[in-house]
């Protein structure tokens, strides 16, 4: 057995003897990815949901119309409406168990129809920002809308209110009301639909929405998180070997440190393939990925893993002690994960943050990976792996030529 193979098999044996370390490479990324997926809805879109308390003293057609605005469309996905009396509403707001309290006074509809000032009371939970603000904006929009409707259809609304209030309205009156509304709209057609504004349908050239689930978006991030953890762990192994006198003694052997380094790289390739297979099988089962994708994932991760390994090794070898190597690489790993798309997909980041993250080594590789994996774009079969391989061999050449012997002697 050649020395390279021996180093490789020893490293793998050691890895399997430290099962918790191996588990850490896989479990933590999967756990984080799983948790992030769980906090999103089934469509993969994370949306805030709050409680809207409604106290309707008026109980009129118009007050119901206003409340209905919160129970329809996107607003209904953001708010869970709850009808309560004033006392209960105050209690719930005091206990911060609701986002907003909307109170409609008695006489609201009548005042509105009589063109008299009327009040809608909106109480916001000060401990929340987004949802109360959305509710306030919605009420403002409704108030503005109500004003214009009143200007245009005041008479018709009165008649409609009478109809709902139980007053008798004849068929003729009903037909007249409908005709009147139509005439009003016809008269306003020029203002509402001015001919000088011509709608031109044009397909916007914005980045198309992926429409993919959050789990699918997280999947590549989980893979790269695993790579970062395992690369750091394997790079730190050099310090463990040094502390056990192995690397120093190797200086006196004919095989030397180059074969030792090659053996460690082989062990790294094994670990990356293992990670890709384990997480790939999860993808196969949970995301229904095709087998072809799994094979490309394995190759891609192997290359990306080796670049991250050589970077981590470079840092480790430059550090004066094992502890400093551990601290510095840990300090690198977490921001790299955060910015590089492993905790949050680039799509969910602010633009400036994604801009930084996409130029970090892991972020760059992840971004290229996503082009193929998520967007179903063409795999940059030649260019990106060639860049990755060049970076890897460059760093490795420097390590072998200039750093490893110094590290072993120090």
């Amino acid at each position: 057995m050649s020395f390279t193979k021996t180093v490789s098999s020893n490293s793998i044996k050691k890895l399997f003897s430290e099962k918790w370390q191996l588990a850490m490479f896989l479990i933590i990324p999967i756990m984080i990815g799983g948790l992030f997926s769980l906090i999103t809805d089934s469509k993969g879109q994370a949306k805030p949901v709050g409680v809207l308390l409604i106290t309707d003293h008026d109980k009129s057609f118009l007050s119901q119309l206003l409340i209905g605005g919160f129970n329809q469309g996107p607003m209904s996905e953001m708010f869970i409406s709850k009808s309560v009396d004033s006392q209960e509403a105050k209690l719930l707001m005091d206990e911060a168990k609701a986002s907003v309290w909307l109170e409609i006074d008695k006489g609201f509809a009548q005042n509105f129809l009589d063109e008299k000032p009327t009040t809608i009371k909106l109480v916001k939970n000060p401990s929340q920002n987004i949802l109360p603000q959305i509710a306030e904006t919605a009420v403002d929009v409704m108030a503005d809308g109500g004003h214009y409707i009143q200007l245009l259809f005041a008479e018709e609304l009165k008649q409609f209110n009478d109809l709902l209030s139980g007053k008798n309205v004849s068929d003729i009156q009903m037909a007249s009301m409908s005709v009147q509304i139509k005439h009003t709209i016809d008269n306003l057609e020029d203002q509402l639909f001015p001919p000088q504004i011509k709608a031109v349908k044009q397909k916007a050239e914005t980045k198309k929405s992926t429409g993919k689930s959050f789990m699918l978006l997280m999947f590549p991030g989980i893979l790269f998180m695993s790579l970062l953890f395992s690369s750091q762990g394997m790079a730190l192994e050099f310090w463990k070997d040094k502390s056990q006198g192995i690397t120093t003694r190797l200086l006196s052997s004919p095989s030397g440190l180059t074969q030792y380094l090659n053996g460690k790289i082989m062990a790294g390739i094994f670990v990356y393939i293992l990670i890709a297979i384990v997480i790939g099988i999860m993808g196969l089962l949970m995301l229904k990925l095709s087998l072809n994708k799994i094979i490309i994932i394995i190759i891609w991760l192997m290359l990306s893993g080796l670049v991250l390994f050589s970077l981590m090794l470079l840092i480790c070898l430059l550090m004066p002690t094992e502890k400093s190597a551990s601290v510095v690489t840990s300090a690198m790993v977490f921001p790299m994960m955060m910015l590089g798309g492993s905790f949050f997909p680039f799509e969910a980041m602010p633009v400036w943050m994604a801009g930084i993250g996409q130029y970090l080594p892991n972020g760059y590789m992840l971004q290229k990976f996503n082009l193929w994996f998520i967007d179903d774009g063409l795999l940059n079969v030649l260019i990106t792996p060639a860049i990755i391989a060049t970076v890897f061999f460059g760093i490795l050449w420097f390590i072998n030529k200039s750093l490893l012997a110094k590290f072993a002697r120090a």
Partner: protein, 310 residues
């Protein structure tokens, strides 16, 4: 054979090894004796390639350590002072690792592994993880890793430090066996008794320089047949040495609390010596008599005891 010519190693302003010459032939154990920090380990590190010499040349089994480093290293075994073992792996796995590093493989490797495990008495423990071994067992395994490839030359850097008597005996027997098989051995230690027992030739090294060398008998002859007497007490009039010299007592070292003397036939002349010392220098509280040995020579050459010198 190991041959070193004018070896010098400096670290900044410090000269750790200063123009050392030595030669260990096949079937010979060459001892490097000296206190900690004398330059023994630096010499070993230069020979084994762990550090590069500043000046001088090193030949191992006929190969130049600089220009033919791979062949030189293949001919050399190193037992470093610090253990170099994977604690998580078994003894057998460690031996496979180091055997592969010296390009052994297959049946030859397995055969050699079983042989060296027998030599160091660990054959029954070979499957156990090293972390379960005692310190002495680890030392024995550390030694076994160095002799797997049957090196023509072997460097042992204080291999018995902190070793229990049983393990020490295993190691010493194995070293003698290697010597008888024709291996050239360089052995560093600060244990006099080990050096006297094992070494065919010795060099006493202090502050990077060889201050005496030769066979054990040659070196003993420099001390003569005199015994070493160490006296402890409270002494004064330390400048008055004429009386002792008139009695043919050689003063090696003297201060207010301790006196080291070389004297012929100490056991019969002890009463006379003590009377003189009590009269001139003060009261003696403790007396130790040792036969002439390398420790006496080291004290004679440096004015310090080996174990004090570090």
């Amino acid at each position: 054979m190991i041959e070193i010519n004018n070896l010098t190693k400096t670290f900044g302003n410090l000269t750790a090894v200063d123009t050392i010459n030595l030669k260990a032939k096949s079937g010979e154990i060459f001892g490097l004796l000296g206190p900690n920090g004398a330059g023994k380990s630096t010499t070993i590190n230069c020979i084994s390639g762990l550090v590069s010499p500043t000046e001088g040349s090193i030949n191992i089994n006929g190969f130049n350590a600089s220009s033919q480093s791979v062949k030189a290293k293949q001919s050399l075994g190193l037992v470093p002072q610090e253990l170099a073992l994977y604690e998580d792996l078994s003894a057998h796995e460690n031996l496979v690792f180091w055997g592969s590093a010296y390009q052994l493989s297959g049946n030859i490797l397995e055969h050699r592994i079983q042989q060296v495990l027998t030599d160091v008495g660990l054959e029954s423990r070979q499957k156990e993880p090293v972390k379960q071994f005692s310190g002495g067992m680890k030392r024995r395994l550390n030694f076994a890793c160095a002799i797997l490839h049957e090196p023509a030359a072997l460097l042992l850097d204080e291999p018995t430090v902190g070793v229990d008597p049983q393990s020490r005996e295993h190691l010493l027997q194995a070293i003698i066996k290697l010597k008888e098989a024709g291996t050239a051995v360089i052995y560093t230690t600060h244990y006099m008794e080990e050096a006297e027992r094992l070494c065919d030739k010795l060099a006493i090294i202090d502050q990077g320089k060889i201050i005496a060398s030769g066979t054990v008998d040659d070196l003993r002859a420099q001390v003569g047949e005199k015994d070493l007497i160490t006296l402890k007490g409270h002494f004064s009039q330390l400048d008055n040495k004429t009386v002792l010299e008139s009695l043919e007592i050689e003063i090696l070292d003297i201060d207010e609390n301790e006196m080291r003397l070389l004297i012929n036939d100490a056991s019969t002349r002890l009463t006379q010596v003590l009377d003189v010392i009590n009269n001139i220098y003060g009261k003696v509280s403790q007396v130790t008599i040792q036969q002439a040995n390398l420790e006496s020579l080291f004290i004679k050459l440096t004015g310090r005891a080996l174990r004090d010198a570090s």
